[in-house]
Symmetry: C2
Subunit: 109 residues, 2 copies
């Protein structure tokens, strides 16, 4: 089993635990965007979005490039990949688990 840095996964999974932040990432996968552009589809205040972006930034999920007065935000791949890798270690477990579920369903029919 691969070893994963503790606190990075903490921050990554913590950042992913909020639906607004997951929506921001889903927007950013389409390409870079400014804070204002990111905020527009959401009903909460710009300040709230700003705080969400700071959390994503601290988790390394996002990078910020200042151009004049606008901040351009872009998605950063590696923490997502790490989280994916961590979960992947459980793949055997759920394969097995779903197989035995399938087995149960089969025996029932």
């Amino acid at each position: 089993m691969v070893e994963y840095s503790i606190s990075e996964l903490d921050a990554t999974f913590g950042a992913l635990s909020d639906p607004t932040r997951r929506a921001l990432l889903a927007t950013l996968v389409l390409g870079e965007a400014t804070v204002g552009e990111l905020a527009r589809p959401h009903e909460i205040s710009l300040a709230a979005i700003s705080k969400h972006i700071q959390i994503l930034e601290r988790a390394g999920l996002v990078r910020r490039r200042r151009i004049g007065r606008t901040h351009h935000i872009s998605l950063e791949a590696s923490p997502l990949l790490d989280a994916f890798g961590w979960l992947g270690a459980y793949q055997d477990f759920w394969d097995e688990s779903l197989d035995s579920l399938a087995g149960l369903l089969e025996r029932r029919s």
Copy 2:
């Protein structure tokens, strides 16, 4: 893109954001265990472990079977699979992202 239920992912990623809880899951992947067995390797109080297990339970990551005075905890696959699936939607992005990194490194050499 597949749609994912909002609040379930909230709870799943939230539960995964703590290293103690991730360690509990890593133990449980080896098989069912009692609360006491789960607590033993950790230095924090049993009450703290009990609360962690409740959070895992609320997130559906774990099930509890009471046998007499002991509680037997077992891992539940599907929320992990859902989280894995959500992250998998970003696979194209990080493939591309890592490719372009590789490209950069190549051009530099």
